[in-house]
Structure formats: C-alpha cells, structure tokens
Symmetry: C2
Subunit: 174 residues, 2 copies
C-alpha cells in the first residue's frame, strides 16, 4: 500500500456545512476516484484487521459507505448503525449530543452474538459523541468493542479522549 | 461464484414495514454474514461490470452500502445519490413519488464528466420510482446511464417497465 497521506488531495474542504463555523471534510472526490477509493478501503481495512475485528459496524451515512466496503474487502460481516426508524426489526437506541445538535442511533437487537469482537467504522472522528454512542450500542448487545477506525481524525477536537480508552486508528489526521 | 439463489436464505421478510401492507425485504442478515456479504458483492459486481460501468452510483441508504462496496471491489469510482440536504456542495435535485409517500434525491453537480458510463446500484427494485429519479439525475449531469443493478427485484411490481428500456440486472427475484 502506498502512503495514506496522498489520499488527502481527494478530501475537499467545504466551509460552513452543515452549519456556520463548521469546516466539512467532503470525501466525495475520494469516493469518485476508483484507485483512491480502493486504496482508502485497503488502508481502513488494514486498521480494522489490526484491531482483531470479527465484525464491522458502520455509522449512518458515510460510515455505512466505508464500513460495508471494508467488511466485504476483509470477508467480514457488516452491521449498520442507523438513524431512528430506519431498521425494520427490534432495535436498541441511544440518544447523544453531537457537534451541531442532538441525534440518536439504533442497532438491531439481534445484530450480534455475545462476545463477538466488533470494530466500528466512520468517515470522521470529530468530538467523539457519535462514536461513543455507537460503541455504547454495540456494547449493549453483549459484543466486545475492539476499537474505532476512521478515515479522518480532526485531532484538535480531541474526540478520542471522550471514548474511555477505546483503541482508535485514523488513516488521515488534521 | 456459487449460485446467487442461495443468498435468499439471508433475506428476512418483515411485514408492514415501513408502513402497513408493505412486505419489507431486510438484507441485514446478509450483510452480517461475512461470506454471504462478500458473495453478494461479487454477484452485483459481475452485473455492474457486464453493463460496462466506468463509475458506480448508489442510492441512499442501502444503495450506498452495496454500491460503494461493489465500486471498491471493481476498482471503480463511486458517486452517492442522497436525500436532500446531505451533500455539501452544489447539487442537482429531483422529486419523485415512491411506494409509500413522496421523496427527493440529490447528486453533486460536478459528480461526472460528460459521457461517463454510470451503472446505478440499489438494494431493491420495487415500483421503479426511485431508480427512475436516480437515472434522471445521472443523465442530467451529461453522463450515460448504462443500466441499473439491484440485489433484489420485486417482479410483481414491474418496476423495470417504468425505466424506459434501461437495462436492469437483478441478482435475486421475488
């Protein structure tokens, strides 16, 4: 694998999205470039494997994109963590504060056997609120949360400090 | 590749979701099984390749899961087609009727060069309203829509008849 840092030229900055004062890191140019997208999946996949994942969970919406691709790449099962009302069967739910507002996440109650090792995948680690909620959900299933892998970590927001010592791997840092 | 029909045992029927009278085909058990999920990506990928795709577009939310994984598998770029307000840059938008209500989809205006061959991916082809809207969006970019690939076609709803002769490949049919 070539150096991950090269992937930064496919990340586009969008000021004031989704609300004023937020600098949004837009990964759509990376997704749109076949070799870059494949390389990103390899890099995230290597981190997911290094954490000993048996299953991959991805957080709606961009964590679904990355997590599902990485799971297929590694031959692992994938569990979607979604916004309220989207999953068709019985769910567990957790509400949380995020950078711009309040939100909730859900997971299917039967998404894991006890003790299975999950790695959670998302596009960006910002303040850590979303990731903490996802880790709580997976833990409530009786699964083991082995770590979090993100494509992009916004280091200045210190999100990993809110995750109670959960191992975090980031492919790119800002 | 083994026979795709085997994948049907990972599709779960959920009656009355998201609204009364709808029989929802839940693909989460398929996603959660590593070998089955990998096999599904290979089957969808083979269909996408057979249609001559240069780029893959996926429709929010489950089309993002499948389309992004298939694009990475094939080494192709991926373009998300999303619900309103989710894409950070200038978009094209189209409103459409769907099986249960009315909705809209958006695509980044700069998501394609002229004439690029797109294949659109989604989980389910039902009445065809969503797929027709997605094909319209991609076409408005000046790209060529080479076809639609779905994991599941609900044949009794005859969605492909609403797609103006667009080539449609389905891995599984009901």
């Amino acid at each position: 694998m070539r150096d991950a840092e090269e992937l930064k030229r496919y990340i586009r900055d969008v000021p004031d999205f989704p609300s004023p004062g937020i600098l949004f890191r837009d990964i759509t140019p990376l997704l749109a470039d076949g070799p870059a997208w494949q390389r990103a999946v390899e890099h995230v996949g290597a981190a997911v494997r290094s954490l000993g994942a048996e299953k991959v969970a991805g957080i709606e919406a961009r964590g679904l994109i990355i997590g599902a691709a990485v799971a297929a790449h590694l031959g692992l099962g994938f569990v979607p963590i979604r916004k309220p009302g989207k999953l068709p069967r019985a769910t567990r739910s957790v509400a949380y504060d995020l950078e711009y507002g309040r939100d909730a996440l859900e997971i299917h109650s039967d998404a894991s056997g006890t003790g299975e090792r999950f790695v959670i995948v998302d596009d960006v680690l910002a303040t850590g609120g979303t990731a903490a909620a996802a880790a709580q959900l997976v833990g409530e299933l009786g699964a083991q949360v082995s770590g979090l892998v993100v494509l992009i970590e916004l280091r200045f927001l210190a999100g990993r400090d809110r995750l109670g010592g959960l191992p975090v791997e980031a492919v790119l840092g800002y």
